[in-house]
Amino acid sequence: MKPRRRQRLLLVGLLVAGVTVAVGLALLALQENINLFFSPSQVVAGEAPANTPFRLGGMVVEGSVRRSDGSLEIQFELTDTAKSVAVAYTGILPDLFREGQGIVAQGSLRTDGLFNATQVLAKHDETYMPPEVTEALEKAKAMGVQ
């Protein structure tokens, strides 16, 4: 083999090895960092995993928001109009969090059925509804009709 060709082969080999490592890394990371989305109905039906983080979406139930005294802990209920799940969160809520608003909470389910949120997402547009929440609401509505 000519030296030049050998070098080119080496170069191609290095590139292929590098890309392979990168792809492997990406797939591994993807596997570990995916958050599934569940609606309150699914959570109540026991479809959501325990102790694994996932996303829960729905509308904040009117009159359900309670703050505890002396700390930043807050509890509220999320509903897809069919079923609802209690959510606990500690910290500052986004500006557009309010009763009746569609939100998505990231967190995990405790064994007693309370959803422990680490992050609450509400969008900055009063008419905007997260697509996941819209779909969950529609599904719940369709189930109610049957």
Binding site: L11, L15, A29, L36
Partner: protein, 658 residues
């Protein structure tokens, strides 16, 4: 009347765009000078009519014409003047019109500044840009007409989204669009070269300043967006790996790869087919970004309300552009031959490695962004991919890139020895390690991540400085420096910006203190040597909002460090609350305070206190990069008459110039 003129002008612009795409390209194929001659006037005429249309929409905003649906939805009679002007691109329809205007501007700029490029080439370039313009104008006219009327007109408008009532966001979208759309020029040059079957270093040379210009805007636009998110969203984060952020970041990465591979194509005639492919990808990713933002398929801060027809249109448009150019590429590329060979240790190899790393990094971001959409489309459930994925994939891919910047930019074309670089790079490396080990001593805790990031950033900066030093010779350093092309300084500055950026993200992510607290008036909290005291809340009234303004006094070693006034605003029309964070900015640290909500009648509030070390270096680094690009783009040789210079084979291998 004025809105109808705007609509009419837009339809005329579409007709002109059809002419601009059909006649010059046909003329270039048949070599018919009078058909080729249509290209430039058509480009200017299109700019004129799109500008008229855009001006009409602005006029409708300024005159509070609420019979126009778009104005009624995004404006209000009490909106301050600057937001009446920026409100034009505050929502879907208007921002698409801005897209079209930006495209018309770039097209006219190409028509104006391409006197040195052969007319056939210009005709093809303007023709391809005309095709893109036809697609976008059709999109506006069929799915998103900004001039739609409603009767009876409402008495007042629904107001601009309060989030957008901010100077940072007033300039962010135009910057970003200048970048996005700017890549259409590189794309058009690549397609034109494929059409003409002439892919040589001349094509790369014409394309380079345009690509750089687009890259500069995109860099500045992304930095502005990040800065805006930092102070306006009230979370103190500067990057969220939000799908819409990714949508702007992917074209940036591929565009950066394109700049580097264009350099190799121009100087050495290598990577030609690859460069064409990158130009196609950079613009396709810009279009994909528009699709992701506009179609509403993603849950994102930036997403607008959904309209499936729009998403479908952009998807088809995207398929036509990507599919068409790839088909053309498959047909023409086999004829393209890269001329020179190169050694494993050479600047070409370094640029190749840079390209591979950047493109692979862009591909992993693309994977993470589109994966939820694919899973959803396959009916496998709703998922989201969070920041941990991006961080764990992106950082291992880009850290080597930063580490190799200094080495790569010092390598010679064609053939070099690594041993030659030991002497000039030894001192920078030693210095970087020494300072990198010392730097974290000034923080509360000694973190090895900070040491690593500090060394990486400092090494990049010092290696680049050493590279400039190497260009000068003993006894005539001043003269050598004066003779160094501006492009070299531009490249060096951009790489220094990268180093500054690396240091910024490392220290910010390692040493930030973030605290959500319940504070009653008089309460204090101490962190990192700073004592924050909450002094209570006052009421204020703004032009179109009510504000509750807090006062927080920050004391460091007994002396007043800052008085911060974070606000909680309620915008009257939409009854929408908005957090306005208060920031005391500094070169080595930001003090960041935001108000949550009132907790009881005793004046207690939820308060967010952040200490962000070196966070400014992130945007400073990006600005230095953009400025480096500006310096490069203004290099004398791009302004020179380049026709014959371009045909000359460039064989100056030993004296590497960028």
């Amino acid at each position: 009347m004025i809105p109808e003129i705007g609509l009419f002008a837009l339809i005329l612009a579409l007709l002109i765009a059809v002419l601009q795409s059909a006649i010059p390209i046909a003329g270039a194929t048949r070599n018919n000078p009078s058909w080729i001659g249509v290209a430039r006037p058509a480009a200017f005429a299109q700019l004129l009519f799109v500008a008229i249309s855009y001006g009409c929409l602005t006029a409708a905003f300024l005159s509070h014409d609420f019979s126009v649906v778009y104005v009624a939805q995004n404006s209000n009679s009490r909106l301050p003047l600057i937001y009446l002007i920026s409100g034009v691109w505050g929502a879907h329809e208007g921002s698409l019109l801005l897209w079209a205007l930006t495209l018309a501007l770039w097209t006219a700029a190409v028509a104006w500044f391409s006197k040195s490029v052969p007319d056939r080439m210009v005709a093809r370039v303007l023709g391809v840009m005309g095709i893109v313009s036809v697609g976008f104008l059709l999109f506006i006219l069929f799915t998103s007409n900004p001039f739609e009327r409603q009767f009876p007109a409402p008495l007042d408008g629904r107001d601009l989204n309060p989030l957008l009532q901010d100077p940072g966001l007033a300039i962010h979208p135009p910057m970003l669009y200048m970048g996005y759309v700017g890549f259409s020029v590189a794309f058009a040059f690549a397609i034109a070269a494929l059409l003409g079957g002439r892919l040589d270093s001349a094509w790369a040379r014409w394309s380079r300043p345009w690509t750089l210009a687009a890259w500069i805007f995109l860099t500045a636009g992304i930095a502005l967006g990040s800065w805006w998110a930092y102070y306006e969203l009230g979370w103190g984060g500067w990057w969220f790996w939000d799908p819409v952020e990714n949508a702007s970041f992917m074209p940036w990465m591929v565009g950066t790869a394109l700049i580097h591979s264009l350099a190799a194509t121009e100087k050495r005639g290598v990577f030609k087919a690859w460069t064409v492919l990158l130009a196609v990808f950079a613009f396709s990713l810009s279009l994909l970004g528009t699709f992701l933002v506009r179609s509403g398929v993603l849950t994102s801060v930036h997403a607008f309300a959904t309209d499936p027809a729009r998403g479908l249109f952009i998807l088809i448009f995207l398929a036509v552009v990507v599919g068409g150019s790839l088909a053309l590429y498959a047909w023409r590329a086999p004829a393209v031959k890269s001329s020179g060979g190169f050694n494993l240790v050479s600047r070409e190899a370094g640029l190749l490695l840079n390209n591979v790393l950047l493109v692979v990094a862009a591909a992993t971001v693309l994977l993470g962004t589109l994966y939820p959409l694919m899973i959803d489309a396959l009916g496998l459930g709703k998922i989201s991919v969070g920041p941990p994925y991006f961080n764990s994939v992106f950082i291992p891919l880009t850290a080597p890139l930063a580490a190799l910047v200094g080495v790569g930019s010092m390598l010679r074309w064609k053939k070099d020895r690594l041993g030659r670089l030991v002497q000039p790079l030894g001192l920078p490396f030693a210095l970087a390690v020494l300072l990198g080990l010392l730097w974290p001593v000034f923080f509360d805790s000694y973190q090895w991540v900070a040491v690593f990031g500090g060394i990486l950033g400092l090494w990049t900066i010092f290696a680049v400085l050493s590279g400039i030093w190497q260009r000068t010779r003993v006894g005539q350093r001043r003269r050598d420096l004066a003779q160094t092309p501006r492009a070299v300084f531009g490249m060096s500055l951009a790489h220094i910006g990268l180093g500054v950026f690396v240091i910024g993200i490392t220290f910010t992510s390692t040493y930030s203190v973030e605290k959500d607290l319940r504070m009653a008036p008089g309460d204090t909290y101490t962190t990192g040597g700073f004592t924050f005291r909450f002094d209570g809340i006052d009421q204020h009234r703004g032009p179109n909002y009510l504000s509750e303004t807090g006062t927080i006094t920050v004391i460091k070693s007994g002396r007043l460090a800052a008085t911060l006034n974070p606000e909680k605003r309620t915008y009257l029309v939409q009854q929408m609350p908005m957090t306005e964070a208060a920031i005391d900015a500094g070169l080595t640290r930001d003090l960041y305070v935001a108000l949550g909500e009132p907790l009881d009648d005793g004046g207690s509030w939820a308060v967010r206190l952040y200490l962000k070390p070196y966070v400014r270096w992130i945007w400073l680094g990006a600005l230095i990069m953009a400025f480096g690009g500006l310096l490069s783009a203004s290099d004398r040789r791009y302004r020179k008459f380049t026709r014959e210079a371009a045909n000359r084979a460039v064989s100056d291998a030993s004296h590497a110039t960028f």
